[in-house]
């Protein structure tokens, strides 16, 4: 499905990023991954870069290496995000700042550099991994939900800037899935939220792959600034 395509995934070393990494590799893509930690993957079609996406200088330096080695990027998956779920009145300021720095500015830093490489080929697919938190606004997720909302607004605005370069920008608003991030949250908090969904179950990896593949498809050239929410959220 992705033969000859270069895919960049942020936050690729664990959770949904790792699931997506394996999905794209299984479908013949060359995958580049970012995370703050060292990470080794057995596939020769994967290269990892240790980078803090919240640091614009680090991101710019890494993209110089990518430009030299790969020339272009076809698909960017903005997956990296940090989450601290806590009541606002007792949320540590540093945790709130980190969410803004990584989720919003980090996404901006990476997207800005990636689309420069997409521009050369006059082709690109930017896909944000959004969250049900943005729509459901759950207790404890004030900053996280706001950051996901900001990511969507940002990418939709970029979609207008980038349409003439044949670059589309879309968001997959996912529900909860079994990941390290979910494990940070108490199940007694998440389970009731899941029960209230139109389709009241946790997401499976295939649910996410299906929506990502749709936006990533070359056939989706007339679809931009859109969000697909899983599980019936609207």
């Amino acid at each position: 499905m992705y033969t000859g395509k270069h895919v960049l995934i942020t936050g690729s070393s664990k959770g949904i990023g790792l699931l997506l990494l394996n999905h794209f590799l299984a479908n013949s893509a060359k995958v580049i991954g970012f995370s703050r930690n060292d990470f080794v993957h057995q596939s020769a079609d994967y290269e990892h870069f240790k980078v803090d996406i919240g640091d614009a200088k680090q991101v710019s330096a890494v993209f110089k290496q990518i430009a030299k080695k790969y020339g272009h990027i076809d698909i960017l998956i903005n997956n990296a995000a940090v989450l601290t779920s806590q009541y606002a009145m007792i949320m540590p300021a540093g945790n709130a700042e980190k969410m803004v720095q990584t989720n919003i500015l980090g996404t901006f830093n990476v997207t800005r550099e990636a689309v420069k490489l997409m521009r050369k080929n006059a082709y690109g697919r930017v896909i944000n991994i959004g969250s049900m938190a943005e729509k459901l606004e759950p207790i404890g997720d004030s900053v996280y939900a706001a950051s996901k909302s900001a990511m969507r607004t940002m990418i939709n605005s970029m979609a207008k800037e980038l349409a003439s370069f044949h670059i589309t920008c879309n968001t997959v608003g996912i529900t909860a899935i079994e990941t390290d991030m979910l494990n940070q949250l108490p199940r007694e908090k998440v389970d009731p939220i899941i029960k209230q969904l139109t389709i009241p179950r946790y997401a499976a990896p295939a649910d996410i792959f299906n929506a990502v593949d749709f936006f990533a498809s070359a056939d989706s050239s007339y679809i931009t600034a859109q969000t697909i929410y899983l599980g019936g959220i609207n």
Binding site: A67, K116, R119, E161, S164, F165
Partner: protein, 98 residues
């Protein structure tokens, strides 16, 4: 070839490449007098952005140092360095010789 001539050639080449992507009706005459920004601009703002990105990459590669055209120095000038090809060339040479 002097630095001035090299920079001018890179700008004109990038502008010609940009021009090739325009529809016939939108094509511009490329010269050192081509207006890039302001009321007389012959290209739209997104095309100027594309030109800047292309130039930053080509200039950085040619002169083996990072060239950033859109920092505070450029943005706060009374007369934009992006006004026309000539002013852009002068600005790039200024950055290279700073």
């Amino acid at each position: 070839m002097t630095v001035h001539e090299e920079v001018e050639q890179i700008i004109l080449n990038a502008l010609n490449t940009l021009n090739e992507g325009f529809n016939d009706a939108d094509k511009i005459t490329v010269s050192t007098d081509t207006y890039l920004f302001g009321k007389k601009a012959q290209i739209d703002s997104l095309s100027l952005v594309s030109l800047i990105v292309e130039l930053e990459e080509q200039l950085s590669e040619k002169f083996n140092r990072e060239i950033v055209l859109t920092d505070d120095r450029a943005m706060t000038r009374e007369k934009s360095p992006f006004y026309n090809v000539q002013s852009l060339k002068d600005y790039v040479v200024e950055l290279l010789t700073a």
